[in-house]
Symmetry: C2
Subunit: 160 residues, 2 copies
Amino acid sequence: MSQPETFILALNQWITVFMHRSMQNMHRYAKESGYSMSQIFALNFIHHRGRCGVTDLGEGMGVSNAAASQMLDKLAHQEMIERTEDPTDRRVKQITLTEKGTQVIKDSLFARQSWFRELEQLLSEEERQLSISALKTLTDKGKQLGLYETTNITQLNSNN
Amino acid sequence: MSQPETFILALNQWITVFMHRSMQNMHRYAKESGYSMSQIFALNFIHHRGRCGVTDLGEGMGVSNAAASQMLDKLAHQEMIERTEDPTDRRVKQITLTEKGTQVIKDSLFARQSWFRELEQLLSEEERQLSISALKTLTDKGKQLGLYETTNITQLNSNN
DNA sequence: CAATTATATTAAGCATTCTTAACTATTAAG
DNA sequence: CTTAATAGTTAAGAATGCTTAATATAATTG
């Protein structure tokens, strides 16, 4: 069973390599497309969480609900999100992504893919299959740990 | 060989699940420990790139060298980095992480690990071994694609 | 050596994003 | 029904981080 830390170590090393590239790409994408990292982050949160309230977003991002409200103002002005009244409780606003907001998520994902393709080139067919299998497992298990509703991001990269 | 997009898709899905958690953790860690995301990002860059100049950092982070210099000012004031003259070219400053700066990187990594441990619990022994193998492969290949010198982050998580 | 180029710093100004506090509207509780 | 609690917005001010421009120092070029 090797050392008990083997899995954590392997994950950490992978994350370390991956994050460095991914963060740079995200950062670059945000710059080039004129969105801030906060905005990307907020859109990502909403996309994962699904319909949610202003305070939810604030808590998720670790800021006050005032800050969340202001951020949503800008996003709404850019037509990336919509705020509608919750029919069951008219105090709360339901935040949803618009078509455009969803597209931004798609694009930011796509911005990362050039590196993925390069990476794939370096794999043998066996390594490739092994990786696919492992990644699927990790994804499934990872989703089980998530407490949020997961909207289906799966399709984002295939139908574009 | 299934669809040509299978690998990219599997990677994207995993990244999607992982990033959501990881970003939240990073964000939370940064907040709690009083550092900004930019600072964490800069420290990460320096850690990966190894000794580098001010302009290098600016280019790596996509900002002007003035911005990089100002950021380094703060980091130096917090004793997270040191600036020394390059003996071969006294115009350039060599940026290095201090003990404290390295520790911050360690801690930010550690902050992510609780999720990793939960994830590991959900895996069968076979899945666990498969994942380790795949992650190692991806890490190795990923490093080959990197253009930066990689300092050894491997040891960070074991000797702590 | 003189002029140019490269590196880093500093200063001033601007845009973004955060916080707290005040305010409105709605719901829940007594 | 009255009071208290909850959700969201708005406003004012502070903090952060960015840019451009000016400056100092060192290296390179002719």
